[in-house]
């Protein structure tokens, strides 16, 4: 501290405003903490929705179909107009059409050790919506086999239910992938068989899917109905928990896996909590700044005679303003730094707690939170400076 500031500090004392200063600082601390926390929570939620590591916990793909009621029986195909409208919605990143097979088909095992036969149907979906990586996902008439993706649930059903009741061996996913099945298509003129292999298991689509090339070829070859039908659509969305998405589906009598959209309820809760924390923080900040301004006013008013004499002796208002800013502002830097540090600890704690549940958020706080803290500091500095100038010149 320089000599002038040392003497000025003895002249301009907190005096009667000390208790107001303490209450203002406590209020400011809570307000800053609440505001920064609400921002960090919002960013964490955004990360949860977009972090690839979190796809187990939050689905990014939704398969949508019409709600089946008496009125929609036989009329469940989705019209082009609805698909176009879905594409335009803010929650939609991409839309893919699921087309059904229109021919009779069956699948059976070639192995006597593992005998089974069942009638089946297929669906196809554009490649970018297939969630099985590392496999060739196409077909031509020259292909040695038809690649098929089945829902993971089917294998679970077989291993933990069907195989036990039929005294059949349990099968790991790798073993299933090695088995060559026989897929047959049936028409009035006869049956045709193809080799088929299960190349992967999908958590995303709840039907057996084959490459679009095979499905289109099959529909042309074996079906009399050549019109294009979209049974369901799959959408890629940033936020399956978006309340907007839930409302849209409800409004258009569409439905999807309720388990995936249940996040919309959580999202509403998170939004409400963040909103309340933000509003409370904002109000508290305004109130605390008001009290802090009052404290500055009281300090200056209680030293009015001393300040007047200082100015008479030759101290400039600019000099006094700089001194008072140095006097009042640095505590705010400590408050904001304290709040940021507390949020850093909380963030790391949250990271550790969620990590156990395989939900991943950043272990460090966001740059946006730090940026907002800096902005907050700038706002407090501006308000302090303005109050000091106003009261000194009075």
């Amino acid at each position: 501290m320089n000599k002038l500031d040392f003497i000025l500090k003895k002249i301009i004392r907190d005096g009667v405003g000390r208790s107001k200063k303490i209450s203002a600082l406590v209020g400011l601390s809570v307000a800053i903490f609440l505001l920064l926390t609400s921002i960090q929570l919002q960013i964490n939620y955004h990360d949860l929705l977009n972090n690839k590591n979190n796809k187990d916990s939050i689905a990014n793909f939704l398969v949508i179909n019409k709600i089946l009621t008496d009125a929609t029986l036989g009329k469940t195909s989705i019209e082009d107009s609805i698909i176009k409208d879905i594409q335009l919605q803010p929650f939609t990143e991409a839309v893919g059409e699921l087309s059904p097979s229109k021919f009779k088909a069956s699948i059976e095992s070639n192995s006597k050790r593992f005998p089974f036969y069942t009638d089946i149907s297929f669906e196809s979906v554009p490649k970018e919506f297939v969630d099985v990586n590392g496999t060739v996902w196409n077909w031509s008439e020259q292909s040695p086999y038809v690649p098929i993706i089945i829902p993971t649930l089917f294998l679970d059903f077989y291993n933990f239910q069907f195989s036990l009741s039929q005294d059949l061996p349990q099968l790991t996913p790798d073993i299933v992938k090695m088995i060559v099945f026989k897929v047959s298509t049936h028409t009035k003129t006869g049956s045709t068989s193809y080799n088929a292999k299960i190349v992967g298991f999908s958590d995303r689509i709840s039907s057996m899917i084959v490459p679009e090339e095979f499905l289109n070829w099959g529909n042309q070859q074996f079906s009399l109905d050549t019109t294009k039908t979209v049974s369901r659509v799959i959408i890629k969305t940033k936020d399956p928990g978006s309340p907007l998405l839930s409302e849209y589906l409800k409004k258009h009598h569409l439905t999807t896996d309720a388990d995936k959209t249940r996040f919309s309820k959580y999202r509403k809760v998170v939004d409400t909590v963040v909103y309340i924390a933000g509003i409370t923080g904002g109000l508290l900040l305004a109130f605390a700044l008001l009290v802090f301004t009052l404290f500055i006013q009281i300090t200056i008013a209680s030293c009015k005679e001393e300040i007047t004499l200082l100015i008479i002796l030759g101290a400039s208002p600019t000099q006094l303003g700089k001194f008072l800013i140095k006097r009042f502002f640095p505590i705010n830097i400590w408050l904001v730094s304290g709040a940021v540090t507390a949020i850093c600890f909380l963030q790391y704690f949250l990271f550790k707690v969620l990590e156990i549940q395989h939900i991943y958020i950043d272990r460090l706080i966001s740059g946006y939170t730090i940026g907002f803290a800096a902005l907050l500091l700038l706002l407090i500095w501006w308000i302090n400076k303005r109050s000091i100038q106003r009261y000194i010149y009075q």
């Binding site: 003895k10 004499l309 008479i312 002796l313 030759g314 101290a315 400039s316 000099q319 010149y393």
Partner: protein, 214 residues
């Protein structure tokens, strides 16, 4: 350097306009290094004049020009700058901070701008004026005579080209008056500064270039 152009304090206008004065409602030019004594009985506006010259009061007709600039038109920051480097004052009512020590009261004026002297000079001047023993004492518990000498050192510790003194020796005996006047004269000569002093009676404490009746 300083020009008083037909000054007349508005609150005293009725009373002062009836009296003959060589200051009020006259044009006075104070040049560099000029030492002026203004003598007047009580209640004739000595302190009012000093406050006007120092820029504390602006309720007057006429103009005060310092280096050609009307001090009424100066901003509060410009006036502060003038008071830091051009104009120093010894108030009649001393105007010390009672809860600061004698040393701190003087030190404040030394460091308010780029210091003209090192802080040792405060001790040196205090020894000359015989108050070195009360430098660490709070101003509130110093006698009027001591406070007056603190006030004199405070005015001399800063840079200036014009020194205003409003009855600066009112609480001093003749011996201390002479010592203080000698110190003030030395400091003014050193800076080539002008001085304006007001008092109730005439004296020859300084080598005045002019004596005026208020």
């Amino acid at each position: 350097m300083l020009e008083l152009n037909h000054l007349m304090p508005i609150p005293l206008r009725d009373r002062l306009s009836k009296k003959e004065s060589s200051v009020w409602n006259n044009q006075i030019l104070v040049s560099t290094e000029e030492w002026i004594k203004i003598t007047a009985p009580s209640g004739t506006g000595k302190t009012t004049l000093m406050h006007m010259l120092y820029g504390i009061r602006s309720d007057y007709d006429g103009a005060i020009l310092l280096d050609g600039i009307n001090i009424k038109n100066m901003s509060i920051n410009e006036l502060a700058s003038i008071r830091q480097i051009k104009m120093s004052v010894i108030f009649q009512d001393l105007r010390l901070f009672p809860h600061l020590t004698a040393f701190e009261n003087i030190e404040l004026k030394r460091v308010l701008q780029k210091p003209y002297y090192e802080s040792d000079k405060i001790i040196e001047m205090a020894e000359v004026l015989g108050i070195s023993n009360i430098l660490s004492q709070k101003a509130a518990i110093c006698s009027y005579g001591e406070q007056q000498r603190i006030s004199i050192i405070r005015a001399l510790i800063q840079p200036f080209t014009l020194l205003l003194m409003d009855e600066p020796f009112s609480h001093l005996d003749n011996n201390n008056k002479a010592i203080a006047a000698k110190l003030i004269a030395q400091e003014c000569i050193k800076r080539n500064a002008a001085l304006i002093i007001t008092d109730l009676e005439d004296d020859d404490l300084f080598t005045y270039s002019r004596k005026l009746i208020l």
